[in-house]
Structure formats: structure tokens, C-alpha cells
């Protein structure tokens, strides 16, 4: 009797599983869907109510953020709409959480395509963790890559170099200044490189910085000539035949010497200017 009862129980249970599982398929699909966090509190209020456990709460929200980014990345095409809110909660609870600014800040621009939110979070990080050089570095990347604000990018790169005591970043900042191509940027870049040269460096890096100073000065000289040619062309309708015409017409006080040690070469027909040593001024081009 007992054996029969067990067999009936087994049969009924197995039938329930066999029939019920396929019927639950919509729920199974729904369970794997990425959900926006149902309710996100204000980080500052949460901190008030943390009763001394704000670091632990920051860790819990950080884990939630990691899961959210992971699920969204795997699901492809998800918009990560709550990422900035999560980042704010984590960093309100623990303003010193440098790694959170770094990861959430870079994912906000890279994955969520919300550069303004990324900038806000990273700038908050720079205020709260001023010695973490990677935060101004990421801001420099946002300025350069997304906003095409090369002077802004150069300024953040200089800050990263200064904060992190990473002279290699001074070279990057100088490159960004060359792309920005303004008098102010050339001046800022040169003074920063010269400042970097005064710090203790390896001989290799010292040589690289010196070479970059020469390059910036050469670009600066070429840029001055190019602008004078543009002004000449605007007034006369054609480029000068020889560079001396720029001096005679008052567009340049004198033809600058080539800081690279060569000479400034000019092609009258095309109006192209180049240094005989490092060639034409070719700033990095950012593809659309």
C-alpha cells in the first residue's frame, strides 16, 4: 500500500513538473532580463540613515553597480540608464571610493554614452580624491575623444601628470596642446614641459621631454607662419611667392628660425610650410 502511494505521488509530481515547466518559460525569459534597479534612494539621505555603516552600504551599492554593468553588457543594447544614479549613491556614501569614480565614470561615457554624466562623476571624484591621477586622465580622454575639446583635454592631462607625478603624461598633454593649436596652449604646454624637466627624471624620459619641447616650439613657429600666410591670402587673394613677403607686408615681424635646428621651408605654389627637420605641422587627426 505504501509503495503504491509513493508511486502515485511520484507520478503526480513528475506530471506537474513536466507540464508546469514549459508553461513557466515566459517567466524564465523574464527572469534573465536586465532590470533597472526598482528604487534608488538619494545617496546623501542614505548616508544620514546609515548609522555608521556607510562604507558597507557603499560596498553593497558598488556590487549592485558591478552586476548592473555586467548584465547590461551581456544583454547588449541596454542603455544603462541608472548607472549615474548608482555611481552617485556609491560615492555619496563613500566620497573616497576612487575606484568607483574610475570604473563608473569610464562606463558612463564608454557604455552608456552619457559623457556629461561621466564628466560630472569624474569631476566629483577629482574634488574628493584629488591624488588619484587616473580621474583627471579619464576626464582628459572624455574631452579629447567625445567633446573634441583639445585644450580642455590638455588641461586635464597636465593635471593628471602633476597629480600622479607621471611625467609621461606631460608628453601626452603636449600632444593634445599641439592638436588644440592655440597660442595659449603652446605657451601652457611649453611651461609645463619645462617644469617637468626640472623634476627628477630618467635620462630617456628627459631626452623625450626635451625633444617634445623642440617639437612644440617648431609647431608654434610653423603655426605663426601659417596664420600669417592665411591673413596674406585673405587680403591679396593668393599665397605669397616667398616668405619674406609676409615681413614686407607686416604680417610677421620676421621669419622665425626653426627651433628643430633646420630651416623653415616654404612652397610658394601651394602655400605649404614645413620644418626641414621634422616636416610639416601635422596634428593628430581624430576621425569622425
Amino acid at each position: 500500500m505504501r509503495g503504491k502511494g509513493t508511486a502515485v505521488l511520484l507520478a503526480v509530481s513528475a506530471a506537474a513538473v513536466a507540464l508546469g515547466r514549459p508553461a513557466l518559460e515566459p517567466e524564465a525569459v523574464d527572469a534573465s532580463r536586465v532590470r533597472e534597479p526598482a528604487w534608488l534612494p538619494n545617496g546623501k539621505l542614505l548616508r544620514l540613515a546609515s548609522f555608521g555603516q556607510r562604507l558597507l552600504l557603499a560596498d553593497l551599492y558598488w556590487l549592485k553597480t558591478v552586476t548592473y554593468i555586467g548584465e547590461s553588457t551581456l544583454s547588449r543594447g541596454h542603455r544603462l540608464g541608472s548607472l549615474h544614479a548608482l555611481g552617485d549613491i556609491v560615492t555619496d556614501l563613500d566620497p573616497r571610493y576612487g575606484y568607483a569614480y574610475q570604473v563608473i565614470g569610464s562606463n558612463l561615457s564608454g557604455l552608456a554614452h552619457d559623457v556629461a554624466a561621466s564628466d560630472r562623476l569624474l569631476e566629483k571624484g577629482v574634488r574628493n580624491v584629488p591624488d588619484r591621477w587616473v580621474l583627471p586622465f579619464l576626464l582628459a580622454f572624455n574631452r579629447f575623444f567625445y567633446a573634441r575639446d583639445y585644450a580642455g583635454a590638455a588641461a586635464w592631462a597636465r593635471r593628471a601628470a602633476e597629480v600622479g607625478k607621471r611625467p609621461h603624461l606631460a608628453l601626452l598633454a603636449a600632444n593634445l596642446s599641439l592638436v588644440a593649436n592655440t597660442d595659449e596652449e603652446y605657451a601652457l604646454s611649453l611651461s609645463f614641459l619645462e617644469l617637468s624637466l626640472q623634476q627628477p627624471q630618467t635620462p630617456e624620459l628627459r631626452d623625450q621631454i626635451k625633444a617634445r619641447i623642440v617639437k612644440v616650439r617648431t609647431y608654434q613657429a610653423l603655426d605663426a607662419v601659417e596664420r600669417a600666410i592665411d591673413a596674406f591670402r585673405a587680403r591679396n587673394g593668393l599665397a605669397p611667392i616667398v616668405l619674406d613677403q609676409l615681413v614686407w607686408s607686416g604680417f610677421l615681424p620676421r621669419i622665425p628660425t626653426d627651433p628643430s635646428g633646420g630651416s623653415i621651408e616654404y612652397e610658394g605654389g601651394t602655400g605649404d610650410v614645413r620644418s626641414s627637420v621634422i616636416g610639416a605641422r601635422r596634428p593628430i587627426r581624430v576621425s569622425e
Partner: protein, 258 residues
């Protein structure tokens, strides 16, 4: 003093018989150990997750032990009238209160040592070396004893004149207010509202500055904490607890316990 120490020793023995104490300590230690698994869920920063879970579980369970065991032991002595036998001897009520406080504090200290050791072991297992054993580690766990002292003192005070349930509620409320006040204090100081600043200065002395005694961040970020800062905070915490114990002694001395 001899009587006080005898009461303290007896309180420690009694506290160590409490099942609740072991439950909470084991749970705290398990949480610390489980942080090794929890930390695997994160992307980078595993150390801080382990450190935060360990220090938080030690702090939260230490406070709960101090409050619950503290209230239970003092209330039981009065409810079961076992305190009468002691007070019939040439032992003042102040000695009784002080002895209870010292015994409970010693118990909290023992628990803290066990939980800190478990945390150190877990951190050592993760790091593979003892590089985390800087001043941050010792200050983070060391200052918790001052927090527990305040909790025990408040528990003894409230248990000496009210019911156990009310004593637990009052103690947890004041400790919670101490933590909350640390967070709202900077905002209140910035407030333009007249009377806010004097209120803050009054509350500075009325409420326990639990946040001032909370140095968990020092372990998380490996901060160096000066001996002067540690000693000042310790003196503040012990001083605050001392005042509460003195009030408890006065209240208990005046209580009619017939």
C-alpha cells in the same frame, strides 16, 4: 575596589554563560569569513570589501552584544533579586554598578579580540601577508572598545531603572542618535537658522559622538592615524562612558528596590 573587581569578575563569568553572546560572536565571525566569498563578486577592490564587512560586522555585533547582554545581566540581577544578596553585604550600589560595567566591558573586549583576530585571519588569507596590520587596523578595532564602553554604560544606566525592553530601546536609540548626529552635524553647522549652532554645541556634549570613535575607514584606506588622535578619541569615549556610569550609580543608589 576589591568588591567592584569581584562583581566584575562574576559578571564576566555570567556573561560567558549567555548563549546569545556566542550566537552573535559566531555570526559575526562567519560574516567576516564569508566576506572572502562576497569579495569575489566585485570588480577590483576585494580588500576593501573584506575589510568593510569584517569591521562592520564586528562593530554591529559588538554593539548588539554590549546592549543586549548588558541590559539582560543587570535587569536579571534586579528582577531575580540576586542583587539583594550582594547589596546586603558592605558593597555600595555604586560599586555594584561599576562592577557590572567593568565586567560587561571586559566581556565586550574579549569578544572584540576574538572578532578582530578572525578579521585579521581573513585579511591575511586574502593578502598572503600582514601588510594590513598598520596603525589603521589597530585604531579601527581599538576604538571600537570605546564605542562598546558607551553602549555598555548606557545599557547599565537604563537597565538600572527601567524594564529590559525599554532599556534596550533607549540604549539603541541614543547610540543610533549618536551615529546620526555625526552625519547631520556638518549640515546643521552650515544652516542659517538661528539657534542651530548653539543646539549643535549642546548636542556635542549630550549625545555620544559615535562617529568620532569610528575609524573603520582607516583600515579600508590604510590611513595612518597618529597616537595623539587615537588617545584623544579613546579618552573622549572612556570619559563619556564614565559620566554615564556615574549617573547610573546615582540613579541606582536612589532607586527603591524593595
Amino acid at each position: 575596589m576589591k568588591a567592584t573587581l569581584a562583581i566584575a569578575g562574576n559578571t564576566v563569568r555570567e556573561a560567558l554563560r549567555e548563549r546569545l553572546l556566542y550566537n552573535l560572536v559566531i555570526f559575526a565571525v562567519l560574516l567576516s569569513v564569508s566576506s572572502l566569498t562576497i569579495s569575489r563578486l566585485t570588480l577590483g577592490e576585494q580588500f576593501r570589501i573584506i575589510a568593510d564587512v569584517s569591521t562592520s560586522s564586528t562593530q554591529v555585533f559588538g554593539i548588539l552584544i554590549s546592549v543586549f547582554v548588558g541590559v539582560a545581566l543587570v535587569s536579571r540581577e534586579i528582577d531575580r533579586r540576586t542583587a539583594y544578596a550582594m547589596l546586603a553585604r558592605p558593597v555600595s550600589r555604586a560599586d555594584f554598578v561599576l562592577g557590572k560595567f567593568l565586567g560587561l566591558l571586559a566581556t565586550a573586549g574579549l569578544n572584540l579580540a576574538v572578532m578582530a583576530l578572525a578579521s585579521a585571519l581573513v585579511l591575511f588569507l586574502y593578502r598572503g601577508n600582514g601588510s594590513f596590520l598598520g596603525s589603521g587596523f589597530f585604531v579601527a578595532f581599538g576604538l571600537m572598545i570605546a564605542q562598546f564602553a558607551i553602549c555598555v554604560a548606557l545599557a547599565v544606566l537604563f537597565a538600572s531603572f527601567s524594564t529590559p525592553t525599554l532599556a534596550i530601546i533607549f540604549t539603541l536609540a541614543i547610540v543610533g542618535a549618536g551615529f546620526l548626529f555625526t552625519e547631520v552635524r556638518p549640515f546643521w553647522l552650515l544652516s542659517d537658522e538661528a539657534g542651530m549652532k548653539p543646539l549643535v554645541h549642546v548636542l556635542d556634549f549630550l549625545l555620544p559622538g559615535m562617529g568620532l570613535l569610528d575609524a573603520k575607514e582607516a583600515l579600508t584606506y590604510g590611513d595612518t592615524v597618529s597616537l595623539g588622535s587615537f588617545a584623544t578619541r579613546m579618552a573622549y569615549g572612556c570619559g563619556y562612558a564614565g559620566v554615564i556610569v556615574a549617573i547610573a550609580a546615582v540613579v541606582f543608589s536612589r532607586r527603591d528596590i524593595r
